[in-house]
């Protein structure tokens, strides 16, 4: 009897009503948007009430897709898959005067002189947006050796002059056999009887930004409490650049203020504008962690009881104020030279870099560049 009682007690929750699944899903689904900083995970929400094995096929498919996607991404990043720089020239000729149209012999089909990149899903649309500006329908192309035939190009771009808009009068003289024209970086102009257009190079940017574990919103008002700064100073001019460090110039896109272990950290999401010593290219995005920044005064005083100044802060002040840990806060939109190390402390999200050195002034930057011979 006692065993039955215990069993019934453990299953007591089954005698209570269950929440409305639609309301539950709607509410839980809205939480990550309302509180993005909380990192709320709502796993398998759509599987409410279903056995776990219902999700196995979906999980297998997801793993396969992620694996395939990662492979393609890495191959592109490592340049194993040739990312082509199209210099495709489109030449259109039309002659309505004597009703003869001269077309290049063997050039009426698009050819791919490199590996079949069309067989690599995911590259063409996301990695080669430039191809969208290439009108390829209704035109004859003259492939230049080494160019990519953009088979996945989107439909015609209205901004690009199209072959069908060429003059239709019969006064246009006969045009000779079209030849590959000299690449021109200019916007295409419909110059009868033909035009040439070279799209800008296709580049696959690497986006290796990470998401901070937590972040603070720094109020616009005056900071109410500034404790003595820690020794998180910016680059001393005499600093030596570590041999394994990456050196890049980057534009600061976003600054996240976060904390870890009681210390303020900043996550800078940067877009690389020049790479001096790294495998990154211009346009790649990475995250850099620098010590310093802001954290809420409440957290600061909790984590640093030794710095309690004896003042009783009102609750509102504790929640709305920030403690500055670092006097030299970088500004978004500015370009800085970063000397980065992939040595990642455990309290920094995996995949980020830490700023071994950071050169906020041009003097520091020159010093670094001299050291690495750039």
């Amino acid at each position: 009897m006692s065993r039955k009682f215990r069993k019934a007690l453990k299953a007591l929750h089954t005698t209570f009503p269950k929440p409305d699944p639609l309301r539950e899903a709607k509410f839980l689904g809205s939480l990550p948007r309302q509180y993005p900083e909380k990192k709320i995970a709502v796993p398998f929400l759509h599987m409410s009430g279903k056995p776990l094995y219902y999700g196995i096929p979906a999980a297998v498919i997801a793993v396969l897709l992620i694996t395939a996607g990662t492979g393609v991404y890495r191959n592109v990043s490592d340049r194993k898959v040739p990312v082509l720089t199209p210099t495709e020239t489109v030449t259109v000729t039309e002659n309505t005067g004597n009703e003869t149209v001269t077309e290049p012999p063997a050039a009426t089909e698009r050819t791919n002189t490199t590996e079949d990149t069309a067989a690599q899903p995911g590259i063409s649309e996301t990695e080669a947006p430039v191809s969208g500006t290439m009108p390829f329908v209704q035109t004859d192309s003259v492939p230049t050796p080494g160019t990519d035939a953009v088979q996945t190009a989107p439909p015609l771009d209205e901004t690009v002059p199209q072959a069908t808009q060429l003059p239709q009068t019969g006064d246009i003289p006969q045009v000779d056999t079209p030849e590959p024209t000299v690449p021109s970086p200019k916007e295409p102009e419909p110059t009868a009887p033909g035009f040439s257009y070279e799209p800008p190079p296709v580049t696959a940017f690497r986006d290796e930004r990470v998401t901070p574990y937590s972040s603070y919103t720094v109020p616009d008002e005056v900071l109410e409490y500034t404790p003595p700064p820690n020794d998180h100073s910016a680059l001393p001019p005499s600093s030596i650049v570590p041999a394994n460090a990456l050196v890049v110039m980057g534009r600061i896109d976003t600054i996240w203020y976060t904390q870890s272990g009681g210390e303020a950290w900043m996550q800078l999401d940067i877009t690389i504008t020049q790479s001096y010593r790294s495998s990154y290219q211009t346009g790649d995005k990475i995250s850099v962690y620098l010590k310093g920044g802001y954290m809420s005064l409440a957290d600061y005083l909790t984590l640093h009881p030794e710095r309690e100044d004896g003042f009783e802060y009102p609750d509102a002040a504790l929640q709305q104020s920030a403690a500055a840990e670092f006097g030299n806060i970088p500004r978004t939109g500015t370009e800085q030279l970063f000397v980065l190390t992939p040595n990642i402390p455990s309290d920094v999200p995996y995949g980020a870099y830490t700023g071994a050195l950071y050169a906020p002034s041009s003097y520091d930057a020159q010093n670094i560049l001299q050291q690495i011979g750039s």
Partner: protein
């Protein structure tokens, strides 16, 4: 904290105190919104305590506003499941308990809070809460055996 799991548990807790499922769900959602809006509620190891304290206070407020609506949630039981009669019997015994004892058992066995977390919610020591739970369970077990022997 598994927020989906806790959503259901908080709902079950609210519906143990509020008759209307819609109101119980409103209170559940309000509980989570208040919990998430206040980072101080999310101190390490005290999330459950804060979560159910918020839910409890909201239920008390609701009871004050509309006392007629409180209590008497519909009894649910899957009659295909094994031992459903036993569960219904335990549930009826639970419903017959005084309000506070009932709440303690719901927190312990439906919301699955630890004795320490419940003791914090009620503002008593762990030992006092543990003794109280044992006492309530002994009483429930006796009633269960009595019903079974009838």
């Amino acid at each position: 904290m598994d927020i989906q799991e806790q959503y259901r548990k908080v709902f079950e807790y609210c519906s143990s105190r509020i008759a209307s499922p819609e109101t119980a769900e409103d209170l559940t959602q309000e509980t989570f919104l208040r919990f998430l809006e206040h980072p101080e509620y999310q101190e390490n190891g005290k999330e459950m305590q804060y979560l159910y304290t918020i839910a409890r206070n909201l239920c008390i407020d609701e009871y004050r506003k509309a006392p007629d609506e409180a209590k008497g949630e519909p009894l649910q039981a899957d009659r295909q499941a094994e031992g459903w009669l036993d569960r219904l019997a335990v549930r009826e015994i639970l419903d017959g308990l005084p309000e506070e004892e009932r709440e303690i058992i719901v927190l312990r066995y439906v919301a699955e809070l630890s004795v320490r977390e419940i003791s914090h919610i009620f503002g008593v020591s762990w030992f006092a809460m543990n003794r109280r739970i044992q006492h309530i369970l002994a009483q429930m077990r006796r009633d269960f055996e009595k019903e079974g022997s009838v």
